[in-house]
């Protein structure tokens, strides 16, 4: 096996460009809220 395996994650730097739409649900755990923008793109 490779000594370092990188797991696919959302690039936070990139999210500065494609995020910020504000359509996501409010939260009372931030990190597990799916991004509404990404979800709608996927749908």
């Amino acid at each position: 096996m490779k000594r370092i395996q990188t797991i696919e994650t959302r690039d936070l730097q990139q999210s500065l460009k494609d995020g910020g739409c504000g359509e996501c649900q409010t939260s009372c755990g931030v990190a597990n809220q799916p991004c509404e923008h990404a979800k709608e793109q996927k749908d």
Binding site: R3, I4, E8, Q13, V30, Q33
Partner: protein
């Protein structure tokens, strides 16, 4: 900044500011830990010494590993610098738009739970039910102050909202009647103790409620010790069959069964697994919110016990998932590829800005946990937010506003934590609830390990069943 940890046979490296997650072997784990602080020749010497019995660890294999690390650095996936503080400042200057309301339709309850943060649903005030007119005005306020936001959320909350169910239904109908004209899409949610759950409520909730929270604390003896009727009887036998029917009719989706654990059951895992064994697959189990001296409050002695529960829970979830009998625990549902953008991570829950609580008489508060605190009254649904200084205080309350968060590896997961918990623990919404921070970090480690493990074949080190 990076964070490294080992759990259940998995060695994980989190690159904090890119969000990258790496699964590594022991050698890479050790090298990464020393990489930024140790001279390369010294690092090579130390690793060759430590792994002298491993024929695969050679000078050339170490050089290859160093090259991989440098490649990840160049791709901004390892040792990434923090460049977000100015983003947080800019974000503070944005126009405030409200996108969610927590409607306290009932400041009264048909249970008498001893640990209730809302003082048995009354929020330290008189019993009260929200009128339809007040609720309608709240929805009009939300529409008028939501700017370009399309998705609007409304929580029916209490107390026990089913004690004012007719008003809830009329408010849903009113909101639906305004969707087409305004271009808004309402998502309603309901939090209930289940006592009044019947076929009519189930049918309506399953048609109109985007999500439903069902309160259950676990095993009968745990639940009944704390969640009693006003006459002192336990409520487990009354609600569990109703919850099971409700979830079945809902198709097992868009709900969760939420428990609270206290000092009495800091070892909460048997209670959580009992809920899973009842057939509930969407679970949440939360530490109690109460004053430090309260008999229910978690103590320092409870801390290692709770952490062990979180670790065992992750192992058990992995085992059940591999056996095809998985369940979800909300704090472990990290969405690594489709999770929140950086702006969301900086802004946090939005309390006091894009999320407000509305009392039965139409007063506005930053969130449900501030209701009943006179200093945190923000206005009302007729005048709008009149305490703009308080709103600005919440607006600036990002993770970068707290000195305690500066060096915390989990800050882009918690966004600075819960303002209400911080206020109760430190007296300021810009403080931190340190005990909660420590629990949060443990949960995120478990969640990351679980997400990594689910992408991998089974390891022999994975723990045996609980």
């Amino acid at each position: 900044m990076i964070h490294q940890f080992k759990l259940h046979g998995y060695s994980v490296v989190l690159d904090v500011f890119s969000g990258s997650v790496h699964l590594v072997d022991d050698l890479a784990y050790d090298v990464i830990a020393l990489y930024e602080t140790t001279d390369r020749a010294e690092l090579t010497r130390r690793m060759l010494e430590k792994y002298r019995d491993d024929p695969d660890v050679t000078v050339s294999s170490l050089e290859e590993l160093y090259a991989d690390i440098e490649s990840l650095r160049a791709q901004k996936k390892l040792f990434t610098e923090d460049t977000y503080e100015n983003v947080a400042v800019d974000w503070k200057a944005r126009k405030t738009e409200v996108k969610a309301l927590c409607l306290h339709v009932a400041h009264t309850c048909n249970l008498n739970c001893s640990y209730c943060f809302a003082s048995q649903g009354r929020y330290h005030g008189p019993r009260a039910l929200m009128s339809y007119e007040t609720g309608k005005q709240a929805l009009d306020f939300l529409i008028a102050h939501s700017g370009k936001r399309r998705n609007l959320e409304v929580d029916f909350f209490g107390g026990e909202p089913l004690l004012n169910w007719d008003v809830c239904k009329r408010l849903v109908a009113y909101a639906r009647s305004r969707e087409e004209e305004t271009g808004k899409r309402f998502r309603f949610t309901l939090t209930t103790n289940g006592v009044l759950l019947d076929d009519e409520v189930t049918e309506f909730a399953n048609r109109e409620m985007h999500n439903v929270v069902l309160s259950l604390d676990g095993r009968k003896e745990t639940h009944d010790a704390l969640r009693k009727t006003p006459s002192g009887e336990g409520s487990y036998d009354c609600i569990v069959p109703k919850f099971q029917r409700f979830v079945e009719k809902r198709g097992g989706r868009n709900y969760y069964v939420r428990g609270t654990f206290t000092h009495r059951n800091a070892a909460f895992l048997p209670d959580l697994l009992h809920m899973a064994d009842l057939g509930f697959a969407e679970l949440s189990m939360e530490p109690v919110v109460c004053a430090p001296g309260d008999p229910a409050a978690l103590t320092e002695e409870d801390f290692p016990v709770v952490c062990e529960q979180y670790e065992q829970l992750a192992a058990e979830m992995l085992r059940r998932e591999r056996a095809g009998k998985g369940f979800r625990f909300y704090h472990y549902n990290l969405d690594l590829t489709g999770g929140p953008c950086l702006y969301k991570r900086l802004a946090g829950c939005g309390s006091g800005t894009e999320y407000l609580a509305v009392t039965p008489t139409g007063e506005l508060y930053p969130c449900h946990q501030f209701v009943g605190e006179p200093a945190y009254r923000m206005g009302d649904v007729w005048q709008g937010v009149t305490n703009t200084a308080l709103r600005d205080e919440f607006k600036g309350c990002s993770v970068y506003a707290r000195a305690e968060c500066k060096d915390c590896w989990a800050k882009l997961y918690c966004s600075g934590g819960c303002a209400a918990n911080a206020m109760h623990a430190s007296g300021s919404i810009r403080g931190v609830y340190e005990y909660g921070c420590r629990l949060f970090r443990k949960r995120i480690e478990c969640a990351l390990m679980l997400q990594v493990a689910l992408r991998e074949p089974q390891k022999t080190e994975e723990k045996e069943p609980v």
